[in-house]
Symmetry: C2
Subunit: 168 residues, 2 copies
């Protein structure tokens, strides 16, 4: 049975969710999940280095085949977009340096894939993620979003190659 | 005499200018400059990995004491801000992972420091950079901007500590 590992990332400067799932046919399980928490006092560059290091360490520990990020298509304004962009830059560089392809889905597609509803609330996503992966507890919000992104990408594997989203 | 090396970076996804200068008292000289050119066909993640690697290689080769980037305070729109943010994220993470402090100046301050005019045109910046560093030829535009950022930071060293800009 073709088994793959997917690294899901819900990128942000201060609290990125991260998740590693293993998919084997129709079976999915969570190997690890949590968040990269950067203190408010840490300068931007320190946050970005921490994000880079944590992603790199996860790649080393679990050897994922593919990574997924939530697409940031609707930043509120230029300043927010710049800060989120920086976090994404650290994540994408960390993955690309390890030749890990990164896929991107809109927040709506991710919610849709997990709950069946594109406009689902955060709590609904966390609850469904918990059920789908048989977790004992509801995961923290950012970790749940990272797990949801990984699950969304796992579903895409059933889609014919030509119709799948391309790596970023 | 206190001698320091400054890495200047004019960040962009496809063509970042990079420059290394050495400052010794009032003397400045360029050790290296050029640009990190990423082909239009390269995906974003590949560009970001290339930026990270080149910055890291420059740090290894020249052992700079401080780095400088041009502040991106006025991106045109959210999409541009996101893309520029990503490039900045790769640069900042690469520097921070090597514990290299990064300073930031507005485009206006950099032009002002080099030409005396905050609204100077690109060609004026390149010409002044060439004169100030005694270069044989006018540097390419992005490289000139990176050299200008480094020169701007070198000037700041004459400013009392408490009034200097803080690392990013």
């Amino acid at each position: 049975m073709n088994r793959i590992r997917i690294l899901g990332i819900d990128t942000s400067l201060r609290s990125s969710g991260v998740a590693m799932i293993e998919v084997s046919g129709r079976l999915m399980r969570a190997l690890a999940y949590g968040r990269i928490h950067n203190k408010p006092s840490l300068p931007h560059s320190g946050c970005l280095a921490a994000i880079h290091q944590e992603i790199d360490a996860l790649i080393t520990e679990f050897g994922p085949d593919e990574a997924v990020i939530e697409g940031a298509f609707f930043a509120k304004n230029v300043k927010t977009a710049m800060i989120l962009g920086q976090a994404r830059g650290a994540v994408l560089a960390a993955c690309a340096l390890r030749t890990l392809p990164v896929y991107e889905y809109s927040p709506r597609s991710i919610k849709q894939a997990v709950t069946g509803v594109g406009a689902a609330r955060k709590e609904q996503v966390a609850k469904m993620v918990m059920q789908l992966l048989g977790l004992a507890e509801e995961p923290q919000e950012d970790a749940a979003d990272a797990l949801a992104a990984a699950i969304c990408h796992a579903h895409q594997r059933g889609v014919p190659e030509a119709l799948r989203s391309k790596p970023v």
